[in-house]
């Protein structure tokens, strides 16, 4: 049977669950469990069905929003932000390398980024002369391109992290 005090408690816990929405699921479940145990422990020493006493117990626990604010202090970066960072760093390095590999493949003049899977002439007639200095020159140019894009994407990632940090500081 659900009593009116049960409903008051359930209402409080669902407000708490909603307030903790930004937390990782395991952390939210654990916190709701602990607060719920606290309420059960407190109710055990109260006269049964005493609404005012139960409200007093919940008042002492405080506003669910305050508990949520405390729980999100120094919260590890959200999973979504990590994913964005990883993707950015990856594309900053992998994408230019892939593009260069494709360019080399289509021109048939491989130097650095072409996987040597199929036997083919490394230097066709349309390729620039492949003496040591020319290969070296192309390699420098290609590596520079990759590093430039890598640095750009890292700078972008860093600014995302800073913005997230500021948002977190503002919310506490």
């Amino acid at each position: 049977m659900t009593t009116s005090t049960d409903r008051i408690v359930e209402d409080y816990l669902s407000r708490l669950r909603a307030a903790l929405g930004g937390l990782p699921r395991a952390r939210r479940r654990e916190l709701v469990q602990e607060i719920s145990d606290h309420i059960a422990e407190g109710r055990a020493s109260l006269p049964q069905g005493d609404e005012a006493a139960v409200r007093g117990l919940l008042d002492r626990l405080g506003d669910p929003d305050d508990i949520a604010a405390e729980a999100s202090v120094a919260l590890p970066r959200k999973r979504k932000e990590w994913a964005a960072l990883a993707l950015l760093s990856l594309t900053g390095l992998v994408l230019p390398a892939t593009l260069l590999g494709l360019a080399e493949e289509s021109s048939g003049c491989g130097t650095l980024f072409t996987p040597q899977l199929s036997p083919r002439p490394i230097a066709s007639s349309t390729c620039p002369p492949t003496d040591g200095s020319a290969v070296f020159g192309t390699a420098v140019w290609e590596v520079g391109f990759v590093i430039l894009l890598g640095v750009l994407s890292l700078a972008l990632a860093a600014s995302i992290v800073r913005r997230a940090g500021r948002r977190q500081a503002a919310s506490t």
């Binding site: 916190l31 602990e34 145990d37 422990e41 305050d66 508990i67 405390e70």
Partner: protein
């Protein structure tokens, strides 16, 4: 400002309460809240306990309760004990320094 100071020092009060014996959440929270000026919302101590546990300053075990569901008991780890000892020294210096300027005994 006061809220930040309270948050910073509250965790050491939790560690100090666990210094002599292990305690379960409700007991710990009530002991803190019963001292005037320590916490305004009892519920905010639970996220703090979780943080202390993840940082390895306290550890917890589940134990049967004579009256109801099992209770989660918290106790200090060696790291927690060291952190508490370090704070105790720093705190008395800091308290004396603040009292020197704003305490009742300070000269105008």
């Amino acid at each position: 400002m006061l809220a930040q100071m309270r948050r910073g020092t509250l965790q050491y009060c939790v560690l100090a309460l666990l210094g002599s014996e292990e305690r379960y959440g409700f007991d710990l929270v009530r002991r803190l809240a019963d001292v005037d000026g320590m916490v305004t919302s009892e519920g905010t101590i639970y996220p703090l306990l979780g943080r202390l546990r993840r940082d390895g300053l306290v550890e917890s075990t589940w134990q049967e309760s004579p009256t109801g569901p099992p209770r989660r008991y918290y106790r200090l780890t060696d790291t927690g004990r060291e952190a508490l000892a370090g704070f105790q020294g720093e705190w008395s210096r800091f308290r004396n320094a603040v009292d020197h300027f704003v305490g009742r005994t300070a000269r105008p």
